[in-house]
């Protein structure tokens, strides 16, 4: 019976191809947009998780501003504005933290300016960051050419630049030994970082493809001691147990901040879980909007099914006269509605596969389509089909055979 119904449904949809296609369009758009958005979010999360693996697990990051992070509850939020407003972290904090016995290395990252000059060209999309030589130890990017500035050379005007900058200014040439100008002062390029796979969305700030590192002392001097410290990375003595280090860092900073907790001490994975939490929230939000089109698509199906039922009143009458029970008529129209929505779902999945490859080939985005997402899309379209076909199918099943046979 069911196979017959499916065949009949496909048959009747084929007789009105355009109508069926247009009806399915709502579902197609809904499914493909939800799948695409979820796959983008998934890709983003994968990139972030990849960064967790690249970073050492033995570092603690101190950030300006209080980041609310409920215990594993997911209710976390990242204060993006913290990146752009004046930092609450100061030079004194760095000095204080360096005194800690459990801190193997303290690496401040101070924002100097976002432009640098080389020869005639002015670069505006760079982060000029003042940091200490230990930066090379906590950095997930290796120095490809040359080397990082060392403790000995801290007073020298040395700089380390990211690969994007090297490429922009010097093209294919190796710029080690060339000079770059920051706030009117010349720095000799000492090393060039390797390309990070971090991609576009580096919320965890571990992507330094477009950064220029200069020694901390110079940063201090160039900004007249008004340092804007983005974060301080502290490397613990015992990588297996960072908690004592975190406690000590907190205590020290509370005392230098006069008891105000306007900073956050985070393990790397906490930082990243916040970031991926944000991605999750955004993905969920946009998916929700896209899901509305699924709802509209479902209503479209219901509408067309109702039209179809009244157009085929006579057919229903004939079928009933031949002995179809109400249930058999019901299932016929249910299957037809489901065929519409499942067809739409499948085309939608194909469309999102096309979008997927398009994005992979033509953009830097790396969406990931997972089986659960596809399964969910199929499930949603099946249930939409059932939900929105029930009313028309019931209408068909309840028709009085005599009146239906008269065809009105």
């Amino acid at each position: 019976m069911w196979s017959g119904n499916v065949k009949a449904a496909v048959n009747s949809l084929r007789t009105s191809k355009w109508r069926s296609l247009l009806t399915m369009l709502g579902i197609i758009i809904g499914v493909s947009s939800v799948v695409t958005i979820v796959s983008l979010g998934q890709g983003l999360k994968n990139q972030i998780l990849g960064q967790i693996n690249q970073l050492g697990s033995d570092v603690v990051t101190v950030r300006s501003g209080k980041i609310v992070n409920e215990d594993n509850g997911g209710g976390s939020s990242l204060n993006f504005l913290g990146l752009f407003s004046a930092s609450t972290l100061s030079d004194a904090d760095v000095t204080a933290l360096k005194e800690l016995p459990s801190a193997k290395a303290v690496v401040p990252m101070a924002f100097v300016t976002n432009s640098a000059k080389s020869g005639n060209s002015q670069l505006d999309n760079v982060f000029v960051i003042g940091t200490s030589p230990e930066m090379s130890q906590v950095l997930n990017q290796k120095v490809k050419y040359g080397e990082f500035f060392t403790q000995d050379s801290e007073d020298t005007n040395f700089a380390v630049i990211g690969p994007n900058i090297a490429h922009k200014i010097y093209g294919e040439l190796n710029p080690v030994g060339q000079s770059i100008e920051v706030l009117g002062e010349s720095f000799v390029i000492r090393g060039i970082l390797s390309q990070s796979s971090g991609g576009l969305f580096s919320i965890a700030q571990t992507d330094f493809n477009s950064a220029v590192f200069i020694p901390f002392s110079h940063a201090k001097r160039l900004t007249d001691n008004r340092l804007n410290i983005l974060q301080i990375v502290v490397r613990g003595q015992n990588p297996d147990n960072l908690d004592p280090t975190i406690e000590e860092v907190k205590k020290t900073l509370l005392s230098t901040h006069k008891g105000q907790e306007n900073f956050s001490v985070l393990k790397q994975y906490e930082l990243l879980s916040i970031a991926s939490g944000v991605v999750n929230t955004i993905t969920g939000f946009i998916s929700g909007i896209a899901a509305i089109s699924l709802l509209v698509g479902g209503i479209g199906i219901m509408n067309i099914m109702l039209v179809s039922v009244s157009e085929r009143t006579r057919e229903i009458g004939i079928r009933k006269a031949l002995g179809a029970t109400n249930r058999q008529i019901l299932s016929q129209f249910l299957v037809e509605g489901m065929a519409l929505s499942i067809g739409g779902g499948l085309i939608g999945i194909i469309a999102s596969a096309v979008i997927y490859f398009g994005l992979r080939i033509y953009t830097d985005l790396q969406p990931v389509i997972t089986l659960p997402v596809v399964a969910l899309a199929v499930l949603v379209s099946v249930s939409l089909g059932i939900i929105f076909s029930v009313a028309p199918a019931l209408k068909a099943a309840r028709k009085d055979p005599i009146q239906a046979l008269r065809g009105d």
């Binding site: 019976m1 196979s3 017959g4 009949a8 048959n11 009747s12 007789t15 006579r314 057919e315 004939i318 079928r319 009933k320 006269a321 031949l322 002995g323 179809a324 029970t325 109400n326 249930r327 058999q328 055979p401 005599i402 046979l405």
Partner: protein, 291 residues
């Protein structure tokens, strides 16, 4: 025991003073294997009788026993199964499903029985062979002539080996040649022991029947047994002009109703049929004009 037994079966439409009596205490029994023709002017209740016998409609009063089973009060799903297994319909306008080919149309009642596709196609194919449409199996109804379409419809009616075949003016849309082919097919089916109930306006067709019922105003006014091949005597006299409705008739109709149906019971019954009233009063009058 007769195949079909009706005991004072009535069918009322509408309610209150707008009630129409489509069937007026019809008592009828049809034996298995009979070829019965039903004649009568439009609006005489032929179609209502067919609908009740075919379980498409329920009588307001009176029992209907089909093959020893009380069927008039069954639930609609049960009635659908009885229709499927025991009743074959042939309509004036063929009523083949346009989207399905001839073979699928004929096999449809088997599908509702839950038979596998292979088996039902085989049976449908055999049945088409019997009505001479084997080579038209994969045609669609729109590609068939009227006579061929009606023969396909007859094949569909026969496919479940029904107890009774109900044919409502099966030759109404056909020319005389096709009519003859179709009626010969019915005669053939009858010779193989099937029970056939034929509604017709054409007195010529009573030649195929062995019993002719005449209906008028919801009553069976004549029941004639006739030899196959002879036109029924009553059929010659049947007049087909539309009757003029006089004021007397209307008054007579209403008083007849009041006499026939006890007041309270009528009110209760007809309340449930609210809404149909206006439509059916006008219908009763216009039906005489329409056909």
């Amino acid at each position: 025991m007769a195949l079909i037994e009706l005991q004072e079966v009535s069918k009322l439409y509408g309610f209150g003073d707008a009630t129409t009596l489509a069937l007026d205490e019809v008592t009828l029994s049809i034996e298995k294997g009979q070829f019965v023709a039903v004649m009568g002017p439009s609006g005489s209740g032929k179609t209502t009788l067919m609908n009740i016998l075919g379980l498409l409609d329920r009588p307001t009063h009176g029992p209907y026993v089909l093959d020893g089973r009380h069927v008039s009060r069954l639930r609609s799903n049960q009635q659908a199964k009885v229709r499927r297994d025991r009743i074959g319909f042939v309509f004036q306008s063929y009523n083949l499903l346009t989207r399905l080919n001839v073979l699928e149309n004929v096999a449809l009642p088997l599908a509702y029985r839950g038979m596998t596709p292979v088996r039902r196609q085989k049976q449908a194919s055999d049945m088409l062979e019997r009505v001479g449409l084997r080579e038209r199996e994969y045609f669609f109804p729109r590609h068939l002539s009227g006579g061929q379409a009606q023969r396909a419809a007859i094949a569909r009616a026969l496919i479940n080996k029904p107890s009774i075949i109900i044919a409502d003016e099966p030759t109404g849309n056909l020319d005389s040649t096709d009519s003859k082919v179709v009626m010969e097919l019915f005669a053939d089916i009858h010779r193989q022991g099937n029970t056939i109930l034929l509604v017709t306006h054409n007195p010529e067709l009573t030649r195929y029947a062995e019993r002719v019922l005449y209906m008028h105003d919801g009553m069976i006014v004549g029941d004639e047994t006739t030899a196959i091949g002879n036109m029924a005597r009553g059929a010659r006299k049947t007049y087909f002009e539309r009757r003029k409705v006089s004021d007397d008739d209307i008054v007579a109709g209403v008083s007849a109703l009041m006499r026939d149906v006890p007041g309270k019971e009528l009110a209760a019954k007809s309340d449930s049929e609210k809404g149909r009233s206006k439509k059916s009063t006008s219908k009763r009058r216009t039906r005489k004009v329409k056909r």
